[in-house]
Symmetry: C2
Subunit: 233 residues, 2 copies
């Protein structure tokens, strides 16, 4: 039986890695896409290469797109300073790390890739539960992108759909980690820290959400953090 082709958007972070391993577990032919958009955390790109290789991607495109020219986020190289130490405040407002229209851009590029190779779906690791408050991670956003995709392409005019698959959409971070653990995701090869140093900082939003997820899942994060919050130890 012919296997289905899917595009996996892989940032190198924990969520997109688990999402890609879910696609792998379904035995799809996987084409990976990573956007090098000027993020501070270049280590993510290395992680993306590792994960793409772990899931036996047929092809891995790393596309350069310098979103830094627009500005509007502290996530770009050299700009991230907004460090919150209190995990309780995460998700209460849209943080300075929000990158304008990022998921719309990434899904559009995924759509272009999927249409070009005649793939049936795009896997993206967004989740709306333990997230940082980004507008383009919400279920209603994904639903609208699907409606748009259904009429945006040549494929759609021929009545073939490209499905936006969001297997993590309603999962908590600890559920994502448990799922990844069961699928043998090499967490050591993933990178979540907003900073691009050799070890994750353990104090940015992304490190804190990740550590809390591991703690809630009763698992140990294999990464070697610079600082660990008291509640994690």
């Amino acid at each position: 039986m012919k296997k289905n082709k899917v595009v996996c958007l892989i940032s190198g972070g924990l969520d997109s890695s688990v999402s890609a391993f879910i696609a792998k577990s379904l035995n799809y032919d996987i084409y990976s896409l990573t956007i090098d958009y000027g993020q501070q955390h270049k280590k993510e790109l290395e992680s993306a290469k590792n994960i793409s290789s772990e899931i036996s991607s047929i092809n891995h495109i790393i596309l350069k797109l310098n979103l830094n020219v627009f500005g509007g986020s502290t996530l770009f190289e050299g700009k991230y300073i907004d460090i919150k130490k209190n995990i309780e405040n995460i998700g209460k407002e849209i943080p300075s790390t929000y990158v304008p229209a990022r998921n719309t851009i990434f899904l559009s590029l995924g759509l272009a890739y999927a249409e070009s190779i005649n793939a049936n779906a795009i896997y993206i690791g967004v989740n709306s539960t333990d997230y940082s408050g980004y507008p383009d991670c919400r279920p209603e956003y994904i639903k609208q992108f699907q409606i748009l995709a259904n009429i945006a392409t040549k494929k759609s005019i021929e009545n073939e759909k490209i499905i936006i698959e969001t297997p993590l959409l309603y999962l908590s971070k600890s559920e994502i980690i448990k799922k990844g653990y069961n699928l043998k995701v090499p967490f050591k090869k993933t990178w979540s820290c907003y900073k691009g140093n050799s070890n994750p900082c353990g104090i940015c939003d992304s490190c804190l959400l990740r550590l809390k997820g591991f703690k809630d899942a009763n698992l140990k994060d294999p990464l070697d953090y610079k600082i660990l919050p008291e509640w994690y130890k």
Copy 2:
């Protein structure tokens, strides 16, 4: 009174130039955005710079994004060979020059730029009448992108909208040309030919649609074509 900021997507072609001149005629502060996506017709980029300067853009971003890595179109450098000579056939099927998800990508990038500079609108020169049959030029597509944009950004969560302005959506090519003529668009500085040679070919879909538009508008195209179709002379 404070002027509104708008982002103008400028390819350097005739339609996007007229669309940008309409924004200029409304006295907006204009921020231009051009995507260098690997198109064969690099001359468009020079035209985009000229048009951006003519409309006194406050800033002009030329963003490199190599969509050629996905393939899927003959519009990329060195691939365009699908030359139709019969204007009657244009628009009857989606041509090989279709670039997968191009307008979704361009509008996403426009959305990112607009949100970053706190602009109120994005001008795009799509038209659904005398077009080449692209799915992402249709009114229903634009309407869906607007619905998506209304929930995709941080700005949208704060109940501020970024409007997708499509002033040419229902105009024929000759109406677009007449409108451009009245607004003193320097047609000589625009570029429509799919080929990147020093003079427009006069035989690709884009040249034919343009020439037919000028003929129907009873105006003379100031460009110096290599070949002119019999019906234009």
